[in-house]
Amino acid sequence: METPATRISHLKALVLNADGHAFDTRTGRSYRLNPPAQVALLMMQDGKSRPAIIAALVALCEQPSAVVETGVDGFFKQMASYVS
């Protein structure tokens, strides 16, 4: 998965608070995000690419790239499913 299949306007409708609670102002749905997912969401909202998000999380979480890639791709799928 190269790029998240989620429209940027839909991504920007998500408001994330400091506790990891994300509220979708467009649909009224709420989500709970763990810290790596919070970083990924903020970077997606900034239009950052998948490699850039993976690189940032590898450095931040000190995990192997393959582990982070799996997690990021799973997150993209969830975003495409719930937020699109």
Partner: protein, 370 residues
């Protein structure tokens, strides 16, 4: 401010509100409209509750209504309504009237001019506008507005349910009256039972609508007759009663819902308050389910998000232009949770109302009853 000047500005108006029934599973909007006005900064007017049943809670809730009066049922017609309002005017001054129930609107439209002559302001749609949003006419309206809606069919024969699948109407289906109530039915026997229930309660025709599964989102706003949509407030229902009424909801800011609302207001050239009930189906398409020609029961949320629409409506009735209204930017995320609580009513209060039709004991001339 002098008494005369007070009556000129809507903040000093006495406002009559209907729909003050407050059954927890399906409350009328009236008490919520009253609360919106009570919480309007500077509002000094009295709120006059108009009810159809002695057990309508708003009659006894002083935080909602300063006084209350019983009205004849809508089926008795506009002449009886006007006669009763004339009696009410002997006891309470009324400067503006906000009808909050669908079934009473035709009567209020019929007596709008006589009421105006009595100094009572109303902001109502025209009869043709009201008719265009009838449940059986939604497909035509939506085709004009470019908004999706499930197919609707009028029924006068319950035998339809025995072969509806073959005619392109598979179960589940929604069965509705032209006024209130709707049920999802999954089989012919269940459909027949609900069909008979609708006929017994509301009469013919019975409507069936293709069932759409999805998240229910609602929009309420005001129209001034120009086609503009004013002060829209949007919610997603988070929890509903058995009757599908929201008991919890959250404000949203959905550009697609807003655009659908804008198109419908433009097509209808609506005057007054309106509620759109829509479903977002599995494909993400918004489908219009119903249009209610009044404020919704959740209208108190409009105060919560800084868009007090009942107050805005009174300001418009007082001549304010849309750009002069006090409407905050959307505040998505603000929620409401409805709850039920008991109010204590003395025997004396019930007896006064039952005997006189009003919560006020003395019958004073209107000029003294303000």
């Amino acid at each position: 401010m002098s008494r005369a000047a007070e009556q000129q500005h809507w903040l000093g108006w006495n406002v009559a509100i209907t729909g003050i029934n407050a059954r927890p599973d399906s409350p009328g909007p009236g008490c919520a409209v009253a609360r919106c006005l009570r919480h309007t900064t500077g509002f000094r007017g009295r709120i006059v509750g108009l009810a159809y049943e002695t057990l309508d809670a708003g009659l006894y809730l002083r935080e909602s209504c300063d006084s209350g009066h019983l009205l004849p049922y809508p089926a008795t017609g506009s002449t009886a309504l006007l006669e009763r309002l004339d009696e009410v005017l002997c006891r309470d001054r009324i400067d503006a009237l906000l009808p909050c129930l669908d079934a009473e609107l035709p009567n209020f439209m019929a007596i709008a001019e006589p009421l105006k002559q009595r100094g009572i302001r109303l902001l109502l749609p025209q009869r043709a506008q009201l008719r265009r949003r009838d449940k059986d006419r939604l497909p035509a309206l939506c085709a004009d507005a470019g908004v999706a809606t499930p197919a609707v069919r009028r029924l006068t024969d319950e035998g339809f349910f025995d072969h509806c699948g073959a005619e392109g109407w598979p179960f589940p289906l929604l069965i509705k009256s032209v006024f209130y109530d709707a049920w999802i039915v999954h089989s012919a026997p269940e459909a027949r039972q609900r069909y008979r229930q609708v006929v017994a309660t509301w009469g013919y025709p019975v409507l069936i609508q293709k069932y759409v599964h999805g998240d229910e989102v609602n929009l309420t706003a005001l129209g001034d007759g120009s086609g503009a949509m004013i002060g829209e407030v949007m919610i997603r229902k988070q929890a509903v009663t058995d009757k599908g009424k929201a008991w919890a909801g959250v404000a949203i800011d959905d550009p697609e819902l807003q655009e659908a609302g804008r198109r419908l207001f433009h097509s209808l050239k609506w005057r007054g308050p309106l509620e759109l009930e829509m479903l977002r189906d599995a494909a993400g398409t918004l489908q219009l389910i119903e249009i209610n020609p009044r404020f919704p029961a959740w209208i108190y949320l409009s105060h919560g998000v800084g868009r007090n629409l009942p107050a805005a409506l009174l300001a418009m009735m007082n001549g304010a232009l849309p750009e002069q209204l006090d409407l905050a930017p959307p505040r998505p995320g603000t929620s409401f949770i409805r709850h039920a609580q008991e109010t204590i009513v003395s025997l004396d209060e019930i007896a006064t109302l039952a005997a006189s039709g009003s919560t006020l004991r003395a019958c004073a001339p209107a000029s003294l009853a303000a």
